[in-house]
């Protein structure tokens, strides 16, 4: 009996597959944070005055704020002066892929994302962010023909300053929260997407983030603007090498979905989760939000398997009438990982609808919290929300929590919430093993069955990747 108990506790402990480090010459900003560092970052990026002002304004505001602690869980205090706020794997921005350090390109190959266009996954345009710098965007020219702009954030600042200026901070203002404010001060690079009116983006757009440098924070900033009647599907993937110390990742994603436009944003988050004793791992503190206008739709799908700490709530502000918001999430925690994640659906317009399906899987000693807000504004006549939150526990040392908050200021609006908690039992495990499956395969099958509904929402290649990731992350939680 004892043995099998520990078997069950073990299936989730596997080595982190992406945990290699790339040896490249790295350029850092001086450690710590002050106005000079911000000027340094801005200078390195050759930024216009208005952007430096935005950063400084954010920084000054950030200094008046205190780190929030309502997160369900605990983590070591973050020493904001012990972090490099800018690191880049080369001295000056590369003009083409040929100028990129071959070691960096090799890293992407190891991750399975060849950058060179001839090798690129067909139909997927990739913008890869390595530490603070964008490495190269594939398929850029082809997209440009249709008027689609897809490039690094930094490039957009120079090429399309009017668009950046208009929308930067329009959905997530720099005052929004502590981490978003920090990001607004120090963000290094990220992705920029603009889909013109009436254009359906012909391929999946994808960015790949990787933290490589030691003690470096990554503060990317993504801005997606889908003009009227346009549509786009955007994929975000991330990894970081194994480190003893914690790495900070505080990102912002802002999405503007104009009238009758449609945006699908999918994330497979695989930051280093720390070792099995909870040492190291990425602190993933992210603000993601979209503004959804009349008859438009924003759909968030996330598979969160990595990070020591996950703190993120991809949200929809359903401002226009008939706007739709969706949130589909799988969050898997193992060992000492802590995830506090969910969504906010803010219904402002009439007939707005939102759907939330959250699947939390906890193993080891981890803690997995769903936190959600559904808010019906006074004008949200006939607005409708349906939420379903399911938790699956593996072993008995982990925790699952559901914290749904509902606020309703319009009596014609409806909110439905349903939550379940289940457990993989020793009996289930034995039954499957009696049929020849290893404990890991058994848990994998049950877990995949549990989150099947969400996996189906991911683009196919991503779904396969996500399924594998879940398998890998579960290794050692049993058997």
């Amino acid at each position: 009996m004892k043995k099998e108990q520990s078997d069950l506790l073990n299936v989730v402990n596997s080595p982190y597959k992406e945990g290699f480090e790339t040896v490249v010459e790295t350029e850092y900003a001086p450690k710590g944070l002050n106005e000079n560092v911000i000027r340094y970052i801005s200078h390195k990026k050759d930024e216009p005055e208005w952007l430096l002002d935005f950063r400084l304004k954010s920084f000054r505001h950030w200094q008046t704020m205190t780190e929030p602690h309502w997160f369900h869980g605990t983590y070591d205090p973050i020493d904001y002066q012990d972090i490099y706020y800018y690191s880049a794997p080369h001295k000056k921005a590369p003009k083409s892929l040929d100028e990129v350090d071959p070691e960096v390109l090799k890293t992407y190959e190891k991750l399975g994302i060849p950058l060179k266009e001839q090798k690129a996954l067909s139909g997927v345009a990739v913008d890869a962010i390595f530490d603070s710098t964008s490495i190269g965007t594939t398929y850029k020219e082809e997209l440009k023909k249709r008027g689609i702009l897809f490039c690094s954030f930094n490039e957009a600042v120079h090429e399309y300053p009017e668009l950046v200026k208009e929308y930067l901070g329009s959905v997530v203002p720099y005052t929004d929260n502590f981490f978003a404010c920090l990001n607004s001060a120090v963000f290094s690079d990220g992705s920029f997407v603009y889909i013109p009116k009436g254009v359906q983006c012909p391929m999946e757009l994808s960015s790949y983030f990787r933290i490589n440098a030691r003690q470096a924070g990554q503060f990317e900033r993504t801005l997606i603007i889908a003009d009227e009647e346009s549509s786009v599907s955007y994929l975000e993937g991330c990894t970081a090498p194994q480190r003893d110390e914690n790495q900070l990742h505080a990102a912002i994603v802002e999405i503007i979905v104009k009238d009758r436009a449609n945006v699908k944003y999918s994330t497979v988050q695989n930051w280093y989760p720390g070792d099995k004793n909870g040492k190291g791992g990425v602190y993933n503190l992210v603000t993601k939000r979209g503004l959804v206008m009349n008859d438009a739709k924003l759909s968030w799908t996330q598979v969160e398997t990595g990070s020591a700490i996950t703190w993120k709530y991809p949200s929809c502000i359903l401002k226009g009438d008939n706007a739709m918001g969706e949130f589909y999430s799988v969050a898997l925690t193992n060992n000492y990982q802590q995830a506090d994640t969910g969504t906010k659906m803010i219904h402002l317009g009439k007939n707005t609808t939102s759907t939330i399906i959250s699947k939390g899987i906890s193993a080891g000693f981890s803690s997995n919290t769903y936190r959600g807000l559904v808010q019906m504004g006074a004008n949200a006549t006939n607005a409708k929300n349906v939420s379903k939150c399911d938790s699956l526990l593996i072993g008995d040392k982990c925790g699952a929590h559901t914290i749904p908050v509902m606020k309703c200021a319009n009596e014609t609006a409806t909110i439905e919430h349903e939550a379940t908690t289940s457990k993989i039992s020793e009996e289930q495990l034995f039954y499957a093993m009696q049929r020849g499956l290893s404990a890991e395969e058994a848990v994998g099958l049950i877990v995949n069955g549990f989150c099947h509904e969400i996996m189906q929402k991911l683009p196919l290649e991503f779904a396969i990747e996500a399924q594998k990731l879940i398998g890998v992350q579960l290794e050692g939680s049993v058997g």
């Binding site: 009996m1 043995k3 099998e4 108990q5 078997d7 289940s422 039992s425 020793e426 009996e427 289930q428 034995f430 039954y431 499957a432 093993m433 009696q434 049929r435 020849g436 499956l437 290893s438 404990a439 395969e441 099958l445 049950i446 995949n448 069955g449 549990f450 099947h452 058997g479």
Partner: protein
């Protein structure tokens, strides 16, 4: 005939309570061996211990399967060596489709034997033949394992799983209880067609219902954690006529 399974002086506990108290049993290759005994004498415990259920602790004795020490193996290793248990109370696996489950199980076995995984088309053919024979509909194959099935349907599905995995040693724990006449016939015939010189069966039962379809070569009577008598099919009649008190 050589011994497929040899159990010597087996003692096993659940918690601190001893259930199997020095049990001896030999089952030969190709043999159908019925085990009969009163409620609570330890029949299901025996099947659990043979298959390695971690809820039971073996305190003494040994189990040899094809000459190998079964007690050293994990439940999946035992299964992939050819030990199959049709559960008295099958367990539900929500979200795991039956066909998907069986494909994974079949491939686990093939992997253990150093074979390539079965391809999807072949698997469908392989499965459909067996499903049809046991009256398992396509709809049932898509449903999650054991979830929402009636007691009788679950038993039929256990037989189906057995037919899919073609094990060398099949333990049927009260396969015949709770079955209607027609289902009993389907299950009985399903078992009887699987009978072959290399495959043995251990049929745990209280009645001669199933045994009418699969005549046992040997019958053992179990009481209070031990096998107290082994003989031919005539023992079944004795039990049916006058219970266990005369043994």
């Amino acid at each position: 005939m050589t011994a497929l399974l040899e159990i010597k002086d087996l003692h096993a506990n659940v918690g601190n309570k001893e259930i199997l108290k020095g049990l001896n049993l030999t089952i030969k290759a190709g043999e159908v061996h019925a085990i009969m005994g009163p409620n609570g004498c330890g029949k299901s415990t025996l099947s659990a211990v043979i298959t390695g259920n971690p809820a039971y602790t073996v305190t003494a004795g040994e189990i040899l399967f094809k000459g190998e020490d079964l007690l050293k193996m994990t439940p999946d290793e035992r299964a992939n060596k050819g030990v199959f248990l049709a559960f008295q109370h099958p367990i539900e696996l929500p979200g795991v489709g039956l066909a998907q489950f069986l494909k994974a199980a079949l491939n686990a076995k093939r992997k253990a034997n150093g074979e390539e995984p079965i391809d999807a088309v072949q698997f469908m053919k392989y499965m459909n033949v067996r499903a049809t024979a046991l009256g398992i509909s396509n709809e049932m194959l898509k449903r999650p394992v054991n979830v929402g099935f009636s007691g009788g349907e679950k038993k039929r599905l256990e037989t189906f799983q057995m037919a899919m995995l073609e094990p060398d040693f099949c333990i049927l724990d009260e396969m015949d209880s709770g079955l209607d006449v027609d289902a009993l016939k389907v299950v009985g015939q399903g078992v009887s067609v699987m009978r072959e010189p290399k495959r043995s069966f251990m049929i745990i039962t209280h009645h001669d219902d199933l045994l009418q379809y699969v005549t046992p070569d040997q019958v053992s009577i179990m009481r209070d954690g031990q096998i107290i008598k082994t003989g031919g099919p005539e023992l079944v009649e004795q039990v049916e006529a006058s219970g266990y008190d005369n043994f």
